[in-house]
Symmetry: C2
Subunit: 356 residues, 2 copies
């Protein structure tokens, strides 16, 4: 796997398959782990960071997984390549922006990502398309066991796994599901959903995690508690709440169609028309319009476009992807032109290489 | 010629040919005449109106013109058909809405229209594509002579031709040119043009004449004075001013391209995209977007659409045309849906009959 190839393809988790994939983009579980023999990173000097990165990097690449793995020394990557990995949700913004020796192991299908020297020594994630938390859990649990057979984790009998930030202590698990909720946004019912989720200690974030805006009507629902419950209990809580949100979103979609099918169809078709014709377009407007189009496909109002293409466009129209696709650094205004050009090419059914 | 055929074709004057046709849609000259032997219509009872209509109708249809003529008794037409003729600029709203016996003679190419019992006994017009006032004048002058050889016009040695409204007395001529001035509208310089025209006693009206709004950035420039000058002098005045307006519009277009080619191209492409994709669209928005698209073609920013198609769409998306095309009466909301459907069909390059 190399980053140039990555630019033009898309991860398995964007395939738009799996249960409830009209609403559930992806399911993701990550575990935070630290090595007993080293201090937390906030107390580790550069030499220790190098030691952790080098020893863990070698061990991770040799993990006996069925999938081929690649290792990237993140500190040696160009800015644009780090940003590319962030846009693909393969590394966190924190790992990208950190200093010092750090790395990431990726599976070719992009389902597995294991970060070294992020906030913790190890942050491993498994991501799958659709509502597939059990699949994620089985896979990440196995990876965790494989790694644990090679290293000694920082672990307390009383607290569980020890992590750099107290909010992760215990299981070190974050169970999250990325939902596409355009109808709840349009009908302004989304706030009620947020309030209900906060009451049961579930967090709501945007497409790019903590602090990111909910662009394109994407919302990540995840657990906030990591201590005092088992991994299975924490997964179960998310598994129980997601079908209810799906139900509300479907209900809102049905109501939108029933109340004003024509107006909805018009809004969706116009969004599609603008994406196919604009000559310059911001990332924000692109996400907004793609969100309408995605709902339109799911409602059967657009029939010449497929969900995986739209899912991919959300990622490929991000700044780093655009610059990698064009093969040159672009200022914001140039990116808006490149984004519009790329959208026209992709949505006209032509391959981006065919026209400029 | 019958009105069903008329619905699906368009007049010669929409062909987008002739000098300066990027900006000058059409040139038109009309003459107002009355018969000496009858009172003005404001003083004519129903019996007299019938007599005028029947005798003039017969004489007009027999005129030895090279073009085939058709005669319609306007008072026998359905509302929708009268409106169709108004939308095509073949009859005035006044003739459509009048009471009593009245008619219109039309040439197959729609260049010639002679109304009977409008405000005057006779209102004849010749219209041509592009800046072609001499052509209009030669043709209408000949028609006027031919009619005068059959009837006696109300004429005063001192005043000239006598007309029902004093504003037409003398020559009874209205010389008008329909201009498409989107760049002057965008740059807000259009007001200056209006002020200059008013100073030299030229009138500015919208697409459908007196009292109509300037939809789609179309403006009719015409003489207001009819007395004390010859027809040639009145034509000359319009002929002299139009090139100056054309110059200002071209200058404004060049400035728009120079200042922000990308933004202009974007706006035009989005307009085109909305027209090709909307599911419901008002007449006003249609005119506005078609105006952008028309300018885009002339600036070489749209290359898969031709001016005559756009010119025709301005007319064919009007209410009566839509209802004739659909073959059924439509309420305003239904017309917006039918209009969007018709635009999608025409702009996708498919014939309107092929899909619904």
């Amino acid at each position: 796997m190399d980053l140039e190839t990555l630019t033009h393809k898309s991860g398995e988790w964007l395939k738009g398959q799996g249960p409830e994939s009209d609403i559930v983009i992806s399911s993701r579980i990550r575990l935070a782990r630290n090595l007993a023999q080293y201090p937390f990173l906030s107390r580790a000097d550069d030499r220790v960071r190098v030691e952790i990165e080098e020893s863990l990097g070698q061990k991770l690449i040799d993990l006996p997984l069925k999938k081929p793995l690649s290792y990237f020394k993140v500190h040696t990557l160009e800015n644009i390549d780090r940003q590319l990995l962030v846009e693909r949700q393969l590394i966190s913004r924190e790992l990208s922006d950190n200093h010092g020796s750090r790395g990431v192991v990726l599976s070719d299908e992009e389902n597995v990502s294991i970060m070294v020297n992020e906030e913790d020594h190890l942050r491993m994630q498994v991501i799958h398309s659709g509502l597939a938390l059990d699949e994620c859990w089985n896979e990440i649990d196995r990876i965790d066991d494989l790694i644990e057979s090679e290293v000694t984790y920082a672990f307390s009998q009383q607290l569980g796994y020890l992590t750099a930030c107290p909010t992760n202590v215990g299981t070190g698990i974050r169970v999250s599901v990325m939902l596409h909720l355009p109808a709840l946004v349009v009908t302004k019912e989304i706030q009620k959903v947020f309030q209900a989720l906060h009451k049961i200690s579930l967090a709501v974030r945007g497409l790019y995690g903590e602090g990111s805006q909910a662009m394109g009507d994407f919302y990540q629902i995840s657990n906030q508690v990591t201590l005092g419950k088992t991994e299975e209990q924490l997964i179960q809580q998310v598994k129980e709440v997601v079908p209810r949100i799906i139900f509300y979103e479907r209900q809102a979609r049905t109501a939108l169609v029933k109340d004003n099918r024509e107006g909805l169809h018009d809004q969706i078709s116009r969004a599609y028309g603008i994406l196919k014709n604009a000559q310059t377009i911001s990332s924000e407007e692109t996400m907004h319009l793609l969100s309408s189009v995605r709902m339109g496909i799911n409602l059967g109002l657009i029939d010449d476009l497929e969900i995986p293409t739209v899912n991919e466009l959300f990622i490929h129209t991000q700044p780093a992807h655009l610059q990698k696709i064009k093969g040159t650094p672009l200022e914001s205004g140039e990116r808006n032109v490149a984004r519009a050009s790329y959208l026209r090419q992709r949505l006209s059914g032509r391959h981006p290489g065919e026209v400029n």
